[in-house]
Subunit: 438 residues, 2 copies
């Protein structure tokens, strides 16, 4: 359902609540058939879709030329033959994933003839809001269909022509699939409509915002619906005295340079006081050779006069760029304290050859992802082998860290009896056996 106007929100609400019930127990075969139809329809409409994207690019070019849009936003908006192929490949990969719903994940025999199962099921209705990349429409739709959820999407205005034709193509394909309910994929076009969506805490089970840290924070503050995501990624590497120094430098450079704008890029490197003279000059040199601006604590800056002095704000900053801050710390607990104070509980790494120190670090750092001797950039659903990534969560509730399809499900308890009453167990006529089956 395409809800362009506020008037449609009430209708949308009713419709998705009906579709949710019809869709929640859909079989893997049916969902995969729907995804196959999606691929076919997108292939068939390729030219039309690319043409709509050209229209969006034309308007965007004006913004680009007048300095109102930056080149990376413009590039993200662009849907070319290569990206189109990747988009289709993405759906194929989702088809191959295991069905995250309708799985019995735990079972207990309460008594003979009284068996309890915990079975996964879709969350229900999920809101997703994202910025300019139109290929996200296809990616999100395929993840939601595979997990049995209803989705209400809101894309960026600048990609509206592409988003609408993608939405229409997908919806037609889903509706042509035997047994699929209507309105599995829904799209909101206006900002006002999106604000109304945020109020539907009696209907929407989860909101997934994809965008800048400020935007995610804004969503978190403006809805009572649970939000899956992270508002910032302030990741740390602590180089401990026993670290192999060449390895430490290699990991620091990769964590910053490989993709400086990623949320899992390192922002602050903590170097232990004991090894500062041995590593700092080489580390800073390598970072600078890779085009990284280095800012250091006063102790650091006094050692290396060609780096800028970091201030308190730096430790709280996600640069999202080729800038890194370095601080000299005295021992693991100073490192842990810094990370727990300034970090964003996303991904933090220690470089060490001492297993006990590694254990203390992982026990005491309160983050979703804790790495020993590996680049922070590994913190990602695909690299983790989930086959898909819905987002990275710094929440502790529900899903934490990179979130795959599993994060789009919940569970229900199913109890199969033969007429048992609780009174029989309270009176001692019958006794629980509580035997785990799964």
């Amino acid at each position: 359902m395409l809800a362009a106007e506020l008037d449609n929100i009430e209708t949308l609400k009713k419709e998705v609540n009906i579709s949710k019930i019809l869709f929640q127990s859909a079989s893997n075969e049916k969902k995969n058939a729907a995804l196959e139809n999606m691929i076919e329809a997108l292939e068939k409409n390729r030219k039309k879709i690319l043409k709509a994207n050209e229209l969006d690019l034309k308007s965007a070019k004006l913004l680009l030329d007048s300095g109102k849009m930056n080149i990376s936003a413009y590039n993200r908006l662009k849907l070319d033959e290569d990206k189109f192929r990747d988009m289709i490949d993405g759906i194929r990969k989702v088809i191959q994933l295991e069905d995250p719903a309708n799985k019995k994940v735990w079972a207990m025999r309460l008594d003979n003839g009284l068996d309890l199962y915990r079975q996964t099921c879709p969350l229900g209705i999920i809101g997703v809001v994202f910025e300019s990349r139109p290929d996200v429409v296809v990616q999100i739709s395929s993840l939601m269909v595979k997990s049995g959820n209803i989705v209400i999407m809101k894309g960026g205005k600048e990609a509206q022509n592409t988003n609408i034709i993608l939405y229409e193509t997908i919806t037609k394909a889903l509706n042509s699939t035997y047994g699929m309910p209507e309105n599995v994929v829904n799209m909101i076009l206006t900002r006002h409509g999106f604000q109304e969506i945020l109020k539907l805490d009696d209907t929407i089970d989860l909101i997934i915002p994809r965008g800048s840290a400020e935007f995610v924070k804004w969503v978190q503050e403006n809805t009572k619906i649970p939000v899956l995501g992270h508002s910032s990624g302030i990741c740390h590497i602590y180089v401990e005295p026993t670290a192999k120094l060449d390895e430490a430098i290699k990991i620091c450079v990769d964590s910053k340079v490989q993709n400086p704008s990623a949320c899992n890029a390192v922002e602050t490197i903590l170097v232990d006081y004991e090894i500062k003279d041995k590593i700092l000059p080489e580390l800073v040199k390598k970072l600078q050779e890779n085009g990284v601006e280095v800012r250091g604590c006063s102790e650091c800056a006094s050692m290396l006069p060609d780096i800028e002095l970091a201030d308190e704000d730096d430790w709280f900053t996600e640069y999202g760029d080729k800038i890194v801050s370095i601080k000299i710390v005295r021992g693991i607990y100073a490192a842990v304290r810094h990370i727990n104070k300034y970090g964003s509980r996303h991904t933090d790494c220690i470089i060490t050859e001492d297993k006990d120190i590694a254990l203390a670090f992982s026990n005491n750092v309160d983050s979703a992802n804790i790495f020993v001797n590996a680049s922070t950039r590994f913190s990602d659903g695909f690299r983790y082998g989930f086959g898909a990534e819905v987002g990275i969560s710094t929440n502790k509730i529900h899903a934490r860290g990179p979130v795959g399809l599993e994060g789009l499900t919940t569970y229900k308890y199913l109890l199969y009896g033969k007429g048992q009453t609780v009174q029989e167990y309270c009176k001692g006529e019958k006794h629980f056996i509580h035997k785990r089956l799964i």
Copy 2:
């Protein structure tokens, strides 16, 4: 830490954040030692504790006599030798439970020498607010210690003397345990202090309210912290045409009568039109014999003139008493529609001998607990074999249904490498193998 005054909230916040880090990786041995010390200290102070309770009972008696407190609240407040023994037994049972934290629950080899683990860990800091039963102080403290969490409790004013001495006894016992951080168990005494606690969404990970439906709803509406619980328990039984009628009646009576004020007691019985004449007279008779007031839909009431007519409000009502409403429905989908519309997503049951119908019911009812041929009263953490119950959740996010110790944990990802960078994998020099280890 006992925070009686608002001034203490800021100090409390700092202290619990320190204790959280120190406590989160505590071993099962250490936590059990602390629980053993708790038992010893409570036993030693038994007389003092019972005396403090007498003081609370004295004030409560005045309220009772003047009609400002009902007898069941008065009884809940009372801590006698029997309840004291149960309280101690409760701690012993918690000691025997498996440690829910520090468990590796999933593992993936990303590449040789690059292993990823998902390990459970405590949520961190949990707020619990409850009404008059002082034994809850002990129960909650033991669950929090076992799961490695810091707790901030707020009990009812009417139990203040008992709560304070229980809190002091527990804290002394925990602090005397080797290696335990301070301030694991904390207590707020004022309502104002509790309101301040609800604002600490940067510190507290979860709020567990135990009290009336209105109170839980009030908490949900007045905090940005995730709330674990259910505001109401409107449970249904649908008697399907293939049901064994004697079994259906037995289950309906047990579900209402065994404990009418429990959240998992049945409130509405849906009887299929096809069997109405065969079951309704006997069902209503048995309910009435057990002191249950029966209210029925108009069709029902015209059949049985001695029952009251239910109105629209009845279907939305959790009576919490020996009252039940009965509605005649036409087929399973009418039953499902009624349950999804009027229910509270807590526990719903079908009585049927048809497996396909049972499957359709469990697929289409959107509730935490779905039962086939068993009393709704089985919906309980102890009966489910969890060994402990933190509460029953009708949320879909994080934990659903009866929640045991597992619901007080989250997880972190731990990645152990040997200096790998992401660039090596992006350039194709190395390849992920993604082999599941656990």
